[in-house]
């Protein structure tokens, strides 16, 4: 049943490609430099293709079915976006070509910068970061430099709510700053009292606050303006983790609320495909005060001759990446945005939020939902804790969902909710799909009582049975041995 490794189907002398004959006189190879082994596999094109086709068939994607992976916004990826990114006039451009020869590409980037700025309420945008976390690093380094430029060398503390995504504290450390955690209150908001106390304690050392809003519980903080205000009053800046922007397109602009900097996850909100883990794009928007710190180059139109040019902001933190960003991803996001317009975007968020609330309503009463009394935004967090099924954990429920043909939600995150099941349906799912998913979860709750082993040994209808993750971490096998000299 299992597919052999590509190395296991290798046979000496086979090759899946053809290359031209050498049409120039050869030059002797430099002495002592030429390798005498190269343990790559040798396969014919037919075997190569079958291998990857079969592997693909062991995978589940959004095109396979419902993929409610919370915080990841697994919406449908329009196929026109794929065609767009493959237009040769985009796909074959060399990044170091003269600006005059890439005016169309620069125009696309400029318009994307401007659309994102408008949607977020920001003064300027960089498209360079390759992912959300990369955008965070960009933003936090900018906040740091902003304070340094004002002589505030003592500012080295970042407040990070305990509900934050792991990338927020990790980014903070990577930027050479210290994390101070802010607890959440009983309604799932930032605990205002605690925040006040922490600001009182750390005020002059504050770089700012990293806030995800809607937060990872799927909730829009009820005290948002006050929180931002408190941080600003203490001289801090507010970073917005925009991973959850899918809830607020055309609903509210973070810049209007006082966020100073925010990253967009283009691969979530603007539906560029997730690629099995990437590539994404983590554009960053900033207020006017931070615009000069953006990493560059970004695109600007020359006032002199109207030409589009690369431009390095004067106080830039520097480059965060070679070249200019994940251009192929940007083309997809641009296409998506151009097809939606303002009304279309608002419809996206309205439907994403309605879908989440509908699912929450359907599960309420059977699965505990810590903040289920509140209206959620684009997602909500339930718990895999079932009445009369003490031995059953979230992991079992998740694996059993596979048998019903669904991708499980995000599990065990956010960390502040025990046995979390973080469910994000997105706007591209129909009521029928949501109903089928809810029905499955309700049925699983019954199975948990009636036939708990069915869950514990799930999945039963996947290409493999439950995998031993402990063994993998203990007895590390990271490479087909003969390939790495083994």
């Amino acid at each position: 049943m299992g597919e052999p490794l590509i190395y296991e189907i290798s046979r000496p002398g086979r090759c899946a490609v053809s290359l031209p004959e050498c049409d120039v006189p050869p030059t002797p190879l430099p002495e002592g430099c030429v390798r005498d082994e190269l343990p790559l596999p040798e396969v014919a094109e037919v075997d190569l293709v079958r291998h990857y086709i079969r592997l693909s068939q062991m995978n589940y994607g959004v095109d396979t079915g419902f993929y409610p992976l919370g915080s990841c916004t697994m919406k449908y990826n329009p196929k026109v976006n794929e065609a767009a990114a493959r237009i040769p006039g985009f796909a074959t451009l060399h990044p170091l070509q003269p600006e005059a020869s890439i005016q169309g590409a620069l125009g696309l980037m400029l318009e994307l910068q401007e659309m994102l700025a408008e949607i977020g309420g920001f003064a300027a945008v960089t498209l360079q970061p390759a992912a959300g976390a990369h955008g965070e690093l960009t933003g936090v380094l900018m906040m740091r430099k902003y304070h340094l430029d004002r002589g505030a060398h003592e500012r080295n503390i970042m407040l990070v709510p305990d509900s934050a995504h792991g990338t927020n504290p990790a980014t903070t450390s990577m930027s050479g700053l210290k994390v101070v955690e802010v607890p959440s209150d009983t309604r799932g908001n930032v605990d205002l009292a605690a925040l006040r106390a922490l600001i009182a304690q750390h005020g002059p050392k504050l770089v700012g606050l990293m806030l995800t809003n809607p937060n990872t519980l799927g909730l829009f903080d009820e005290n948002l303006l006050e929180i931002i205000n408190l941080v600003h009053e203490a001289g801090g800046l507010v970073y917005g983790d925009g991973a959850n922007f899918n809830a607020i397109l055309g609903i509210v602009r973070p810049g209007d609320l006082g966020f100073d900097v925010l990253h967009y996850n283009l691969h979530k909100t603007f539906s560029t495909p997730h690629g099995g883990g990437g590539p994404g794009a983590g554009a960053v928007g900033v207020s006017a005060a931070l615009a000069d710190y953006l990493p560059g180059p970004i695109v600007k139109q020359s006032e002199a001759d109207g030409m589009l040019r690369w431009y390095m902001p004067p106080k830039s933190i520097g480059r965060v990446k070679a070249f200019f960003g994940n251009f192929g991803v940007l083309v997809r996001a641009y296409t998506y945005l151009r097809m939606h317009g303002a009304e279309g975007l608002r419809a996206v968020s309205e439907n994403a939020v309605l879908n989440a609330n509908y699912l929450q309503a359907r599960l309420r009463g059977v699965y505990p939902i810590p903040h289920g009394d509140r209206t959620c935004m684009h997602e909500f967090v339930a718990q895999g804790i079932l009445k009369d099924a003490p031995g059953i954990r979230t992991m079992d429920i998740a694996k059993r969902l596979i048998d019903y043909g669904f991708h499980p939600p995000t599990i065990y995150f956010p960390l502040i909710v025990p046995e979390a099941l973080m469910i994000e349906p997105t706007e591209t799912e129909s009521k029928e799909t949501l109903d089928a998913f809810a029905d499955a979860l309700l049925r699983i709750a019954e199975e948990a009582r009636a036939a708990p082993d069915l869950l514990r040994t799930a999945p039963h209808r996947a290409p493999v049975r439950r995998l031993d993750e402990v063994k993998a971490a203990k007895e590390l096998v990271l490479c087909y041995a003969p390939a790495c000299g083994g």
Binding site: Y7, P30, Q97, A130, P279, H407
Partner: protein, 476 residues
Amino acid sequence: MNYIPNTDADRAEMLKVVGVQSVAELFHDVPAAYRFPPLTLPPALSEPEVIEELNALANENDDPHHLACFLGAGAYRHFVPSVVDFILQRSEFFTAYTPYQPEISQGTLQAHFEYQSMICALTGMEASNVSHYDGATAAAEAVIMALQIGRGKRNKVILSPTLHPQYRAVIHTYTQGMGLEIAGEDLIGVALREPEGTAGSAALLDALAGLLDQQTACLIVQNPDFLGRLYTPAEMQALADRVHAVGAQFVVSVDPISLGLFVPPGRYGADIVTGEGQPMGSPLSLGGPYLGFFAMRAADVRRSAGRIVGQTVDAEGQRGFVLTLSTREQHIRREKASSNICSNQALNALAAAIYMAAMGKHGLRTVAELSYHKAHYAADLIGKIAGYTVISRWPFFKEFIVRCPQPVALINEVLLDRYGMVGGYDLGNDYPDLQGHMLLCVTEMNSRAQIDLLAEALEEITTMNLERYEGEVSRG
């Protein structure tokens, strides 16, 4: 167009279940004063309209698909077999995310395990992660890993001045909060002062080694370097020994295609090998998405960043694959994580895996040899043109430097306009001493006819009246 299946009728039913009257009510937590702002965006387009607009934009570009291209400098036009993109378009691959649920992600996981194996084979190393954002950030993450291996006690980093200038820039950006001493970049003069590199003496490597001390966390060199120079395994091993003598990490950034032909860093003492994987199956695409590959010693894996796939078994004892060592990562370890990286360049890693498997040992060697021979043929030819001097008198792979009789930007403008060619990289952008020097790149995608035409063009340009172009270039 939007991609929302539900109709008004569906929404009405759903609102009833939710228990509200209207969708707008769901947003009561949003401060009223800011709720529902009008957005000034261009009007929505239908699919045929957006395709037309995109084609119009694409037509404003001069693309190397239709032109001969001699530009490299970190992004390379190598052949991508049709199978690569064909497989990448499988929905099951590209519409999946990180394989958190391994039972329905064996496709991604096994393909990435194979990717890791082939990266090890290519670099001569023991372990590999799945990807970094690109060659530049992979280099920066190598520095950070070296710092961690140095337990934060070593805070000096030595960068070769001939490491890609943008990689050096990214290392500076990434580490700006870490209080490091970054040395070595001012040694460019040494690199340029060695005309007789063919003799095997590499004064630059010597000079870099001279900076090593007990504070040094790592030393990074690129091979072939940004100027195209190929250091021999012997030279590199000598340097590695000196790096190791002070207990530092030896990091090598490398063009993966060169490894089809040349001894890999794993054979000359590298501790970490990184590089830009774009030439292995990813389109040029104006600089991204690309692929930062990252290989290392098995012993250092627990200090590394990024996704790693490990082999295991399922409940029935069948081989299977999972993400492993997640305890290094941000979602578990938060502020103590080895990096903040989460989404990466997984699909580009898949492309590289398909590319490597398609090429195999013979194909990759052929690509490397073709590039080598054609580049040397081009250097020979151009070196004979009056007014041009090939200053790469050292061993090189596919890139070499030509001193030009006119500003490089001007020559490039003429090449594009009159000959339909994308010329080389203007080294004056990064190295003031190299004003008027062009870095030319030749790969298997350049036919002899193209090379001959380039040489002819360069010769003709020396006798042309270029006034018309000068204005444009100075404005540019």
